[in-house]
């Protein structure tokens, strides 16, 4: 079912921490411990390096593409406590904005759905989440910070899609769409945040995980009548959270894996969930008619060497 299409020679000198394909699937960006971010053109399945973005002074943990209506923007976050937004103008990438207001490693960046404007959320090991909003009038970025979002640190952030099960644009409900995001952290919690009167408040605290939450992903809800969030943790579990109203959430443990689960990622339609774990396995999951999640594919490639934790 699943087959290896190709391997991409990134030329990174150290571990790759994130790889993201842009909105149209035309470009790939990768980031690595070697402080660099690389951008590739995808043409007929081949990946050609366009640029090697240097500007970080530490390992780059995560990258995020903006919606193309804002131009070609790429955000990256690093161990050096900085978030850099890169912009492509006439084929050349350059630093567009740098945000240095975190006191520790920044672990996660994610652009908000385009409907909300050009907004970036950043989760840091200092426990806070920053929400950077581009103000076109002043050509500036306005930063709001959720302090102490997660004690010890925030590992992942993900935005609620703008096209939600209850569209806000019916006649009875005129006003701005509700901005929401989900975050996961070292306090083993998954938290739902919403913007209320210009401030970000905690809407819900989801407790199931018994160890650090490594990744969270809010499913694109194309056609679905409810919100779905996937979270994965060092406790080796993946949890699927569902809610009709973002108030009451029910949890459903997808599976307990053999190793730490590092990533969860939804397909375009939100009907397939990809999970990757420390055992270097990726599996694809799909919900069947009874609502149960079924593994439709399982790939193992090599053995992980994640035992350095005990090294002295």
């Amino acid at each position: 079912m699943t087959s290896l299409l190709n391997s991409i020679d990134t030329g990174h000198e150290d571990m790759i921490h994130d790889a993201e394909v842009d909105y149209y699937g035309l470009r790939l960006a990768t980031c690595s411990s070697d402080h660099s971010v690389k951008v590739y053109d995808i043409k007929n399945g081949a990946h050609n390096l366009i640029d090697d973005l240097k500007g970080h002074f530490g390992p780059v943990w995560q990258i995020a593409w903006s919606h193309p209506m804002f131009g070609n923007l790429l955000a990256s976050c690093s161990y050096d406590r900085k978030v850099i937004i890169w912009k492509e103008t006439q084929g050349k990438w350059s630093k567009y904005y740098e945000y240095a207001n975190h006191d520790s490693s920044v672990n996660s960046v994610q652009f908000a759905p385009a409907e909300f404007g050009l907004i970036l959320a950043c989760g840091s090991s200092d426990g806070s989440i920053s929400i950077l909003t581009y103000q076109s009038e002043t050509n500036n970025w306005d930063a709001k910070k959720i302090q102490n979002a997660h004690t010890i640190g925030c590992n992942a952030v993900s935005w609620c899609p703008a096209i939600t099960p209850e569209p806000a644009f019916d006649s009875n409900h005129v006003g701005p769409m509700q901005k929401r995001l989900v975050s996961g952290g070292c306090d083993n919690l998954v938290k739902i945040w919403k913007e209320e009167d210009d401030k970000w408040v905690e809407e819900k605290k989801l407790e199931v995980h018994s160890d650090w939450v490594r990744d969270v992903a809010w499913a694109p809800s194309v056609g679905l009548s409810r919100h779905t969030v996937a979270s994965c943790s060092q406790d080796r579990r993946v949890v699927i959270w569902t809610s009709e109203d973002c108030q009451s959430w029910s949890s459903n443990i997808l599976q307990t894996f053999d190793d730490v689960v590092w990533n969860v990622s939804w397909s375009l339609n939100g009907n397939i969930l990809a999970v990757s774990g420390g055992d270097n396995k990726i599996s694809l999951w799909k919900q069947n008619l009874d609502g149960a999640w079924k593994c439709i594919s399982d790939v193992t490639k090599g053995q992980a060497t994640n035992n350095e934790q005990r090294a002295l």
Binding site: D18, E20, N269, N288, K301
Partner: protein, 761 residues
């Protein structure tokens, strides 16, 4: 040994351990103490600032402990003094020597490792001085020819050699016996070097700089070679090699980063370990003789003993994998792979131990990025694109569109979607319309002129096909029961009872119910007919027949609901049909029959559309709704929010696939105002001056730059048009709306005489 700490009155600049690592001396502007290191605490032995005779020479930039005599300390004072302290004495006498030779602050003092009484100092004044504690003055002075010397360190390998680093980025090696010229000099960094440290065993010298790098130099040859470079996040103030770990070095930053990082020089990007106990910049590091414990001082006024077991491991917190599903459905997966640095081939005798020590693996870090493809996921996405491009959503008759779309869906293997189209066609196409018509005409039978034999043939064909399809999905155990049912049920049909056929359930998704709709729709029809004892046959799906009738009835209101749904056969419940003993249908032609009751398939259709949307396939739901056109009115229970949500979802997905034309079409065909408005958004016309091509910004008729109004003159009256300006997009001539209207009521050509046959729409 555990992590312990003690707080001081002021910031601490430096620390030094005694010979056997049992005591530590710390110094700062207001701090100068000696502690003994106990099991779980620091015990103050001596406070050298307790003296009444405090002066600036008590203010320490650096402190050093004699490596030969435990009673001697040396300090580098901010006022340029180098002081030697005798711990066996007390009071003023402790300050055994005060060398007032440097003109500016002294940055560093360092005892010779083997020769007693000897120490060296490096100062901001650019000089280094070599002292013998028994002499009142320096025994040698070295001029660095740089502005300031930040660090001096005796080499552990060459007894007379010391290294000095300067703010101009240069490293000098001196022989203490030769004051006139350094042995070696090289530029190591582009910025000031703040510290250096000799490797205890290897001939490496590590240098730390404001340029955020730590560099490791091999000094075995006359030309130094740069072996390793570590990139850190901030300027580095101090470095110290870790004992017993050849490749490890500790560093602390001058700004930004309060943690003490331990690096493996072979992996220069991420610290091997980090210690985050300090709340301000760390000012000094000293290893306690073994690799597991070190002490540090900080501007946060604390002295901390760190134990390696409490270290945090930044690399272990890092996500070791990258995962993304692309628009095309491919899965990108970056993962860590073990790198073998062992290039020599293992011989038969020396079998390489499979369990190399864990710390050996830290530096071996690389990832590979694979792209996987998953057949069903990719198929889903590629067929999405195919369907979006090939569906016909307008401009043809309803049955034609349904037929076409069903064929398109079938072509890319989506038989379940194809089925939906056929069902929709059946339910809302000709039959539905006719039933409506019939009902409205008070039971007039319009359909008795049927060519029975041809229908029979066709029927057999489709059923045969259905049966084949049925067999192809033999793994579908859900159907087992139904088949049994059907065999019993359909005994009136000689063609059916051979195989039976599946239940008309709309749940095609997961089970990939691979049945042909022709069979299904016949089943439905039969169900209806059975119910009504209507015994006739007709090829309901013949599209060209439906054409006229459809248009006649197109604007009729939905059928009255005098026949509630529960009285009519439900798709999910075909047991209705089983109760009726069926007669062969093609034999009978009835001239007068009772009106067919109107069965409203809307509920089932809504169910079906919702089901597809739930599965993430809004494409089907939206496309069916669009093609349904006026029939949408019947779907009363489908609320607008849901439909809007589907439409938005479909439009967004089309955007992802860059199917702009389809997107625009869907928006145009959307019947919900909030969606169809999308096509009217963000269309802007920019006007430029026809003379200088500069955009007209302030007003539409006067150019700011060349003050020309030519662009906005009416071609008829030659006046400037300040209100509505109409123009032909072909020749770009125009003018006052009134004038142009008048002109074109009589003429066809452009009023300017350019010869263009202007078109105004």
């Amino acid at each position: 040994m555990s992590t312990i700490s003690v707080l001081q009155e002021g910031p601490v600049n430096a620390l030094a351990l005694n010979k056997d690592n049992s005591q530590v001396a710390i110094g700062g502007r207001n701090v100068f103490k000696v502690y003994s290191i106990e099991e779980d605490c620091f015990k103050e032995i001596c406070n050298l600032r307790a003296s009444k005779h405090l002066n600036l020479s008590f203010s320490c930039n650096d402190v050093a402990w004699s490596s030969t005599d435990d009673n001697y300390l040396a300090t580098a004072a901010t006022n340029g003094h180098v002081c030697v302290w005798n711990l066996t004495k007390s009071g003023k006498a402790m300050q055994e020597q005060v060398y007032q030779e440097h003109k500016r602050t002294v940055n560093k003092v360092n005892f010779h490792s083997s020769e007693p009484y000897r120490l060296i100092s490096g100062s901001q004044d650019g000089t280094m001085r070599y002292f013998d504690m028994r002499c009142k003055a320096a025994v040698a002075t070295f001029l660095s020819n740089t502005e300031s010397v930040r660090d001096v360190q005796f080499s552990p390998h060459m007894p007379h050699t010391f290294a000095a680093v300067s703010e101009n980025g240069s490293v000098q090696l001196w022989d203490v016996r030769r004051t006139e010229k350094c042995i070696q000099q090289f530029t190591a960094h582009s910025g000031p070097i703040f510290a250096c440290d000799w490797h205890p065993e290897a001939t490496w010298l590590a240098t730390a700089s404001r340029d955020k790098t730590i560099k490791v130099w091999d000094l075995t040859t006359s030309k130094p070679t740069l072996d390793y470079t570590i990139h850190t996040i901030a300027s580095i103030g101090h470095v110290k090699w870790r004992p017993q770990r050849k490749y490890h070095i500790a560093s602390c930053a001058l700004v930004v980063d309060c943690s003490i990082n331990i690096w493996d020089i072979r992996r220069p990007f991420i610290p091997f370990a980090a210690f985050n106990e300090h709340k301000d910049i760390a000012s000094g590091v000293a290893w306690r003789g073994d690799s597991q414990v070190f002490l540090s001082t900080s501007r946060d006024c604390s002295l901390i003993q760190h134990s390696f077991k409490d270290a945090s491991r930044p690399a272990s917190k890092a996500n070791i994998q990258a995962l993304d599903i692309s628009t095309k459905g491919n899965t990108l997966f970056g993962m860590r792979v073990p790198v073998s640095t062992n290039t020599t081939k293992p011989t038969g005798l020396m079998r390489k131990s499979s369990t190399s020590t864990i710390s050996d693996q830290f530096h071996q870090s690389a990832s590979v990025l694979h792209q996987f493809t998953h057949v069903s996921v990719c198929n889903d996405l590629s067929s999405f694109e195919f369907l979006a491009k090939n569906y016909i959503l307008y401009g043809r008759s309803f049955p034609e569109m349904c037929e076409h779309n069903a064929a398109v869906a079938k072509e890319c293997g989506k038989s379940n979607i194809s089925t939906i189209w056929k069902i929709v066609n059946t339910m809302y196409g000709e039959l539905y319309v006719k039933i409506q018509a019939m009902h409205n005409n008070g039971g007039l039978n319009l359909m008795n002129n049927v060519d029975a034999s041809s229908t029979e043939k066709k029927n057999n064909d489709v059923v045969g096909e259905a049966a084949a399809a049925q067999f192809s999905s033999a793994d579908d155990d859900v159907e087992g029961e139904d088949q049994v049912d059907h065999t019993a049920v359909a005994n009136g049909y000689h063609t059916y009872n051979k195989y039976g056929h599946p239940k008309g359930d709309f749940s095609f998704g997961e089970n990939e119910l691979d049945l042909e709709l022709d069979a299904l729709s016949i089943d439905y029809r039969n169900g209806m007919r059975n119910q009504n004892q209507l015994q006739q046959q007709e090829d309901w799906t013949l599209p060209n027949e439906a054409f006229n009738i459809r248009h006649e009835i197109r604007d009729r209101s939905p059928p009255p609901e005098q026949f509630p749904n529960n009285n009519s056969p439900d798709f999910n419940d075909d047991s209705h049909s089983s109760t009726v003993d069926e007669q062969p249908t093609w034999l009978v032609s009835v001239s007068k029959i009772p009106p067919m009751p109107i069965w409203d398939p809307s509920a089932s259709l809504i169910e079906s559309l919702k089901h597809h949307a739930e599965k993430g396939d809004v494409q089907t739901s939206v496309s069916v709704l669009i093609v349904l056109g006026e029939h949408r009115k019947n779907l009363k229970t489908l609320d607008e929010n849901t439909v809007t949500h589907w439409l938005m979802g479909y439009i967004q997905t089309l955007e992802r696939f860059r199917l702009w034309n389809v997107k625009a079409l869907v928006i145009e065909l959307a019947w919900i105002p909030s969606i169809s408005q999308m096509n009217q958004q963000s269309t802007r016309i920019n006007t430029n001056c026809s003379q200088c091509l500069k955009p007209l910004q302030r007003s539409g008729w006067l150019c700011d730059r060349c003050h020309s109004t030519d662009a906005s003159r009416c071609s008829i009256c030659h006046q400037v048009v300040k209100g509505l300006y109409v123009w032909c997009q072909g020749c770009s001539h125009g003018g006052h709306l009134m004038h142009m209207q008048e002109w074109f009521s009589k003429n066809k050509q452009c009023p300017t005489g350019c010869g263009h046959l202007c078109e105004y729409r």
